[in-house]
Amino acid sequence: MNDQTLLAMCSIATAGFTMAIGALGAALGESRIGAAGMDALARQPDESDAITRNQFVGLAMVESTAIFCLVIALVLLFANPFVAGQ
């Protein structure tokens, strides 16, 4: 096993871990936003427009951390600067 194989192996494993941990954090955060949004909707159904809008904005902001992890994982897999031949 030469250095390049080891590097590729580590990159693939790290990409998996990046995505797993990144998705975990975003999932926890989004679930809290969803629960809080449902709670607010149940209390104030008249304000559903504003609540839903702010909820979606918050969801997309939280999800962007998972998207950053996805970009890093894809860089590791497909555009890794340290692996030769790419």
Partner: protein, 224 residues
């Protein structure tokens, strides 16, 4: 397998300038938007009761409300700017659903260019509204020690805007491409519908965040 996520396919050469697929598709989005909006504007003028005119007015009202609420004050220039951003991002998602066309914003350079527009628009709007000194005072508030943090936050939020748009658009295209390769024709249709929803949401977020940043620069010093 190399799905060509971070590079851009060169389709033609125009003199010394390579014409990439992103350049052509984003130019196509701009031209289509200008033509269709001119059509809607003509309908509003000549047939104000028609469906097209009603749709155009509803779209405009939606965008103007969105910008006004997130910037915190009415500003016709900002409405045009934010509305154009929204329409461009959403129209590029729509164009990206066509077979063989990549969403222009699923290229990092295109997404970064949109975020850079916001990065430039913040000081321009702030200086126009408050004057150079009034705008620069924002960086020394509440304490001059926070100047480096203000500068870092300007840069990092621009990078975050670009990466968020790029990551969402690119991951949608990648998932559709993977499902087509694994499962076959017509299977990824629900995912493409989800892609449209995400594209709408990202256009919304991008516009809101841009207008919040610009609105914060305009309102410097009003909080006291």
């Amino acid at each position: 397998m190399n799905p060509d996520l971070f590079s851009d396919q060169v389709l033609a050469e125009w003199g010394a300038i390579p014409l990439t697929s992103t350049m052509i598709s984003s130019a196509a989005v701009s031209v289509l938007l200008v033509v269709s909006m001119a059509w809607v504007a003509r309908a509003v003028r000549e047939q104000p009761d028609g469906r097209l005119a009603a749709g155009g007015r509803m779209t405009f009202r939606f965008l103007a409300d969105l910008v006004r609420q997130s910037a915190g004050r009415p500003s016709p220039t900002l409405e045009v700017f934010g509305g154009s951003l929204f329409l461009f991002i959403f129209a590029s998602v729509l164009l990206g659903q066509l077979p063989g066309v990549r969403t222009p914003t699923s290229n990092l350079a295109a997404a970064a260019a949109l975020a850079f527009l916001i990065f430039i628009a913040v000081p321009v709007a702030g200086i126009r509204a408050r004057g150079p000194l009034g705008y620069l005072r924002r960086y020394l508030r509440p304490n001059p020690l926070l100047l480096p943090l203000h500068l870092i936050s300007e840069l990092s939020r621009t990078v975050a805007l670009a990466l968020r748009l790029f990551g969402n658009m690119m991951s949608g295209q990648l998932v559709v491409a993977l499902i087509v390769a694994l499962a076959g024709f017509l299977v990824p249709v629900p995912l493409m519908a989800l892609d449209l929803l995400i594209g709408f949401l990202q256009a919304y977020i991008f516009t809101i965040l841009g207008c919040v940043y610009i609105g914060a620069a305009i309102q410097v010093g009003e909080e006291q």
